[in-house]
Symmetry: C2
């Protein structure tokens, strides 16, 4: 049992939690965003991130510090918190990224963990091997073995109360990611980065990213705080949080700013393409695009970085708020319309609806039916699983209309859930709000609900529907009698 | 020809335009938001709206001013701009709202227009009759006749260069709204409020609202600036703009603030329910919910009003930016996921796809396929209309795969558009981005495209598809030969 992380509220696989970082004396509210601070180039001062943006934790790179003569001595002398002038928690990376980029680094896990400890890091990282997507199974398995050896070495290094990352690798091989998650959870390490997903995100392969996270999560335990390493675009925070990611880091806020790129929850814009600033943040409330373009490069970069960080932190607050009230899937629905690849990611997430359902809250804010995708949400899956276990008897009417005393029982039937006993109509999620104009997926799901009920029952069912489409009716088992209420009612 | 309004960029029926308000010497960029200023209670000072929020125009109520002894004299002495301390354009309402609320007001159209002129209003309003939704046809037609008489009277009042509103009524009767639009456009009045839609919005009847706007727009001309009267929730700006509304007014920012209600583009929250402030605006960047709750009533109301106005103005900038680049429908896709009723509104808008198509730009930002609804967008409708007019000859292959020299012609076929000549593949909207995981609606639309092409051609068609669902294939005309490429390719 990892007692430094506690998940307090659940929504799907998403959770609001608290990560205790003992060495910093700080408790981080998750999901949390860690701004990446380049120890050489500080776009925004860490102190400003703390006071103005509310950052509780940031991440910097211990390998860069260790290999930069001036920085190394300063960090060892003053400690990282004074060096960066930041009083929250500080996580340090190990150089694995440099390893992936340049093929070679000159440090071992023992050395870098010891160095991270010596400079006062609060969360250290061993030197894992970030196997890229689409690597052969052989390469991925081989490199995973090395990563796992390093985790074993890391367990043996005395780092006091510094937390230590246990990266989960395995490329795009779901079974390897799951096994890597299971192994990492079995160590006594503390935080679990899902690694080497940046190439997937750069290529807009959000569906593959979701599959990788889902696989890692199957291997990890519920008390493992999970870091989606390198995920800094606010567009995808909600989706990744819904898959169970707790920590995100953003270098994007600064890197994008340097290229005049402007982050939004609906994608990235280039400053040159903006005639209006589509954001209420302090930067965008106080400037026009023309004013920003007229600034010097450094000042413009700072303003854009501040904007990028404002929208990123706001989205993270939005995600936490949504989990608290149980409306995270509704937020994901909106974010899925940022880009076709985000829709792909959401649809991939729904392929894992049963996995998400296992930790979903039993009662949340009103279920909103917001698209054909809503018909595949975990709540609908759960309802159908329950129907399979209910076994009404005799002549049973499933109806969108009124009760009928000629039947032994009358149940309500409503898209997308399908049938349910009338007594449950005021319970979550059956209080759902649905649009007047329903799509085929809602009727299909309701028909599947009828089929799930029939599968577990010997009763004689009659379905009284209001003009369901043929396609949905074709999914209703043949021995169910059909009555179309449309035209009979007034 | 109304030369005080110019639509410069189009996206569907949405447009970015300029409304010249000659009496104020101001040109308002549309779509624009008019904050409602209560002349008795100023939640935020109009000067602050101008300098801090960029308001170019606001609206206040001349009837309240006329019937308040102190205000009346001050307004007549100083003029409205000095009274309110606002240098942009000022629109004044006439008391029609009070008429609708209290059943009786003590002023005529001549009197109120003269008074509006005398106090220096830039856009005045006659006393129309706001017939509520669901009124009988008889009542709606009768009251519309009265409104139209009042417009006639208004035409006769000498108001110099003050613009005058010509409200479009007709309740929920589409034919009356259309006729009212046609009549209003035939007057020499200037701005066209679609009236009495507030009850629809209060009841979340966004589908009905869309139908009412669509009907009014069919009657109005393209050079008529249209005001969606009483529409102040930022959640619906994008949808209403896509239907062709240019002006919006918000009393909501202040009224909601007084009840501790917090506006977002995804709906309204109550401050008591917020553990995090899901917004990057200056108010939300600088406060926690607990801090806001701890403020005194007046100060809390001011902060919430400022937040509400920040998100509203930011959304209006976002709408203008989206129209400029031709991505308004993508924004509407996201906003449709705010609430099932918003989805209903979007689906209703797509019922009017042919109407939206008439003014749509021929080339825009990349078409994003973002939901089953995307298959019904105006761009898809237009492509199918074009297919109906193309007439390839001989043996024609429509294929998701490679060309085949055995055919006289090879066309590409892609969901949701269906077939198109290969030469058009780099033209809008055929450069669309679609998710890997497609929905039934995309295949159905592609099949409908095949059918549209067949309808206008005598060629012998072969459709080579990659595993389209049965349901879509059933929509392909019977004389089209089908080949499933799935499994044949490698």
């Amino acid at each position: 049992m990892r007692d430094h992380f506690e998940a307090r509220d659940w929504d799907g696989a998403g959770r609001v939690g608290r990560l205790d970082v003992p060495r910093a004396g700080v408790t981080v509210e998750t999901p949390a965003l860690l701004p990446v601070v380049n120890p050489n180039i500080q776009t925004l001062e860490p102190r400003r991130m703390e006071t103005e943006f509310g950052a509780q934790i940031l991440i910097t790179n211990s390998y860069i510090i260790k290999t930069s003569d001036g920085l190394r001595e300063d960090a060892l002398d003053q400690g990282l918190h004074d060096l960066l002038d930041f009083h929250g928690a500080i996580m340090t990376d190990s150089g694995s990224f440099q390893l992936a980029e340049y093929g070679d680094i000159d440090v071992t896990t023992e050395e870098i963990l010891q160095f991270q400890y010596d400079i006062g890091s609060d969360v250290g990282t061993p030197v894992d091997i970030p196997t890229p997507p689409d690597a052969s199974r052989e390469q991925a398995a081989e490199e995973l073995r090395t990563t796992q050896e390093r985790l074993g070495i890391a367990e043996g290094v005395d780092v006091g109360d510094m937390l230590v990352n246990a990266p989960v690798q395995g490329s795009t091989h779901a079974d390897l990611r799951e096994e890597a998650g299971r192994h990492a959870a079995s160590t006594d390490l503390d935080v679990f980065p899902v690694g080497a997903v940046v190439p997937l995100m750069n290529d807009y392969r959000y569906g593959d990213m979701v599959d990788v996270v889902a696989a890692a999560k199957r291997g990890l335990d519920q008390d493992c705080p999970v870091h989606l390493f390198g995920a800094g675009h606010p567009m995808m925070f909600a989706l990744a949080a819904a898959m169970g990611c707790d920590l995100f880091d953003s270098a994007a806020y600064a890197l994008y700013a340097r290229d005049d790129r402007y982050l939004t929850v609906r994608g990235t814009k280039h400053l040159d393409d903006l005639e209006h600033l589509p954001c209420p943040c302090p930067v965008c409330s106080e400037h026009t695009p023309a004013e920003l373009r007229a600034l010097g490069e450094r000042e413009r970069g700072d303003e854009l970085a501040a904007h990028n960080l404002h929208v990123s932190f706001a989205e993270m607050r939005r995600v936490r708020q949504a989990i608290r009230t149980g409306s995270l899937m509704e937020l994901v629905e909106a974010r899925a319309r940022a880009h076709p690849a985000m829709l792909d990611g959401y649809r991939a997430a729904l392929d894992h609806a049963e996995q998400l359902e296992r930790t979903d809250s039993a009662s949340k804010d009103t279920f909103f039916y917001l698209s054909g995708e809503s018909a595949r949400r975990p709540e609908v899956v759960r309802h159908h699983e329950r129907l399979d276990r209910l076994a009404p008897e005799g002549d049973v009417l499933l109806t969108e209309g009124d009760n009928d005393d000629d039947f032994d029982e009358s149940w309500t039937v409503e898209p997308p859930f399908g049938p349910f006993p009338r007594a449950l109509r005021n319970t979550y999620p059956l209080t759902a709000e649905v649009p007047e104009r329903l799509d085929g997926a809602a009727f299909d799901a309701a028909a599947d609900g009828v089929a799930a009920l029939c599968a577990g029952s010997d009763a004689a069912f009659t379905l009284a529907h209001r003009d369901w489409p043929e396609r949905a009716l074709a999914r209703v088992p043949e021995d169910v009698s059909l009555v179309n209420l449309h035209g009979r009612e007034h």
